[in-house]
């Protein structure tokens, strides 16, 4: 049952991701990206990472996608024709394919040769909201608190750069 769910979600994620890249209409691409995010969230649920799943939907499928679509509408992007192929591009894609192919062969070799570390079973509650929360307030207290400075910096920066006219004191 779990495996079946994984295959459905995994296939969904891959198909929508490919669709997102190849579709010409930016809005359709964005919607496909939302589907990818949802599928990924589903996979996180299967892995018992409920917190991650919730965050995935809230932040990515929610906030970030709204931003994407907002920008697409503001810029008034339309589907455009493919730019003409040039020799440079052909050469670049050829080298790219060579490189990716070589890496893939190597990676498959790694899997075949079972050189990956042996998986150790995780504790039953790994990744649940409770454990994540506990870790954040014990082991990772400093990173958690320091994030506030990071956010403050980002807010100050956003205000600084976006403010249209800075009033003279």
């Amino acid at each position: 049952m779990e495996l079946l769910a994984f295959y459905i979600l995994g296939a969904g994620a891959v198909v929508t991701a490919v669709m997102m890249v190849i579709h010409r209409n930016p809005i359709v691409s964005a919607l496909n990206l939302i589907f990818t995010m949802f599928c990924l969230a589903g996979i996180f649920v299967l892995l018992n990472a409920h917190f991650m799943a919730a965050i995935q939907i809230l932040v990515y499928a929610g906030a970030i996608m709204v931003l994407f679509i907002f920008v697409i509408m503001l810029l008034n992007l339309r589907g455009e024709d493919w730019p003409p192929l040039t020799w440079k591009k052909l050469l670049a894609s050829f080298i790219g394919i060579l490189f990716v192919g070589y890496s893939l062969i190597k990676i498959i070799g790694i899997f075949r040769g079972s050189m990956l570390p042996v998986a150790t079973p995780l504790p039953e509650d790994f990744g649940t909201t409770r454990i994540v929360g506990e870790k954040l307030f014990t082991d990772f207290l400093l990173p958690f608190e320091v994030t506030s400075i990071l956010l403050l910096t980002a807010i100050v920066g956003a205000v600084m750069l976006a403010k249209m006219k800075i009033d003279k004191g």
């Binding site: 050189m115 014990t138 400093l142 990173p143 320091v146 400075i149 004191g169």
Partner: protein, 484 residues
Amino acid sequence: MEIIAPPIDLTGIMPMIIIAITGILVLIIDLFLKERSKNILIFISLTGVIIAARVSFSQYGGIHYSFHRTFVMDTFSVFFNLIFLLGTALTILISANYIKREEINHGEYYALILFATMGMMLMAGGSDLITIFLGLEIMSISLYILAGFRRTKKESNEAALKYFLLGAFATGFLLYGIAILYGVAGSTNLKDIAASIPGRLFDQKPLLLMGMALLIIGLGFKVASVPFHMWTPDVYEGAPTSITAFMSAGPKAAAFAVFFRIFIDSLGNMEPNWNVIIGIMAVLTMTVGNVLAIAQDNIKRMLAYSSIAHAGYILVALVAANSLGFTSVLFYMLAYTLMNMGAFAIIIILGNKGEEHLNISDYAGLGFKRPLIAFAMSVFMFSMAGIPPMAGFIGKFYIFSAAIKAGYIGLAIIGVINSVISVFYYLRITVIMYMREPVREFNPISLSPLIILALIISVWGTLHLGILPGTIIEFARKSTFAFF
């Protein structure tokens, strides 16, 4: 299940807290200040920096872990903290007049510099990849904003956007590397990762190699090493000059602190894997930086390529991976901060409102019109070129001896050859200053007591480190005890 709150020990992060509070204070006080009374902010920031340096200095000696070993305060991080704080203090001194001239005198400027400093301190003291990553992000985001601070200037916007896009991309690599290392080691703690790499059997862990490679890309971008250096000249040119000075000193040192801590502390067992890669990067970085610097006419771009070349020298010390190499890096970073800040201070002094005079030919005849400033500039140029008795010479001398001691004679030779190449473009400035007729009046120039103080500190430091390096070398040597 009951959650037990861990004991909170703030002593280790005290300097960071002081800097963060100063930054927030600056933000709040700025609200109540009139345009002409903004000088108060300079003194608040400087006071914060000095107190933080004092506190940091008093913590020197010993190794003190806190926050479940996510943060460590050892002699290495304290030394780096002092470098960062020196860089920040000098930046604030040279900024004061510049940001008034460029009409970007906003309180947020100082606050962002202070936050960036806090991020750097977090990087130098992070003993967990997550802490290091957060420090890096705090620093980088502050820098993206500061690079685009002159919003009315096209170049500044370009610099900020380029830096942000490429930086975000590099961050992605770094984070992916961290995730893979976590997947292999089951922990993000540097010591735990080291413990999970058994002896020299790394060949059976391809994932480890992948994580390592991604970390090299991410950090290589932050230190501006070739082939991840493309952003440097454009960003250095477009950013406000004071910020360029800031970027080339502190953040670079912080990225190197992380580079060294991760690669020696936790990937030390993989040394045969990374020293070839980093060795090649070092050679490329030195050569490309120096050769391209020759072709530059814009002094900010020239210093950008020179800073790439200097990153190459420091990578040589990382390849050497011995105690002498670390000592030399600590010394070199300090020397580089002083001489680089000084050079940028002079660029700021010679600019006017609306006309920055960044072309190298604008320096013609400076030696006759303003002999003291020309003298200071020559000191910095000689020091960067590595001519005795300046600080740069001692730094390079130690780096190359470390490489020879570790058996990398080829690297040392390439380094020396590069050093010779670099003499050309550094001396060109001096030649132009003293041997050409002036083409313009050096009047008015932007001198103010604060920037003169910064210049005096830099000149004095550069000469002092060059003539009497003993105490600082000894101090730096002691600071590497955490590793060797």
